[in-house]
Symmetry: C2
Subunit: 126 residues, 2 copies
């Protein structure tokens, strides 16, 4: 497999993940070469966790896996985009997307109007 | 303006840009604090160019500006998402989106089926 992308100094490349159908952006996370390989081999999103410094199968604890439907690289070959079928919610807070916090033009945070799709306390204490 | 986001060691934060209506992801670029401030002041996307090491108003040469409609931060406060009204095409290659190159499950690039929305040779030689 020829994964000739531009990885950063840490060997990582950002991966944007969007939901099939709505195209809603669910999250952005980082992949190294083996995360990409595991993702393509299994068909489910795998990442590299920078905070935990370990490989990470999305949904390994929560069950909220992301099945890959299509994937793309950008013109500079330094960012990936995955279209996925998301099980449950993408965000560890319980929201469908990690981008639930909107801001106004003046930079002030707006009220969060959407409702979480799962209860993180129940999901992560299993 | 309180822009209390997590910038990286270079003072940058990734910004994902998506098109209003279709929600198509158009590009990912980097912003520093002043790029965010200029974006909010003017209503048009401004970035920091890592390759050219300078502030960059999207569309300054091509005219392909991006008017901001909504913007979000993710749960970790380390990635921004902007919904924009894109003039012309987002990609310097002439495609509507920088993510025009799809791959198959085995990692092989797929034929590009979409048609460029502008001619970069004409646009950038003005």
């Amino acid at each position: 497999m020829n994964l000739d992308f531009k990885f950063n100094a840490d060997g990582l490349i950002p991966a944007i993940v969007q939901e099939k159908g709505t195209n809603r952006v669910l999250m952005m996370a980082w992949m190294n070469k083996s995360a990409i390989e595991r993702t393509l081999e299994t068909g489910f999103m795998n990442y590299w966790s920078r905070s935990r410094q370990k490989a990470w199968l999305k949904g390994e604890t929560s069950g909220h896996t992301q099945r890959v439907l299509r994937w793309f690289v950008d013109c500079d070959a330094d960012t990936l985009l995955f279209e996925v079928d998301q099980e449950g919610g993408a965000c560890h807070t319980g929201y469908a997307s990690c981008f639930y916090q909107a801001f106004a033009r003046d930079g002030s945070p707006q009220p969060i109007l959407e409702i979480p799709v799962f209860d993180p306390q129940k999901t992560y204490s299993k």
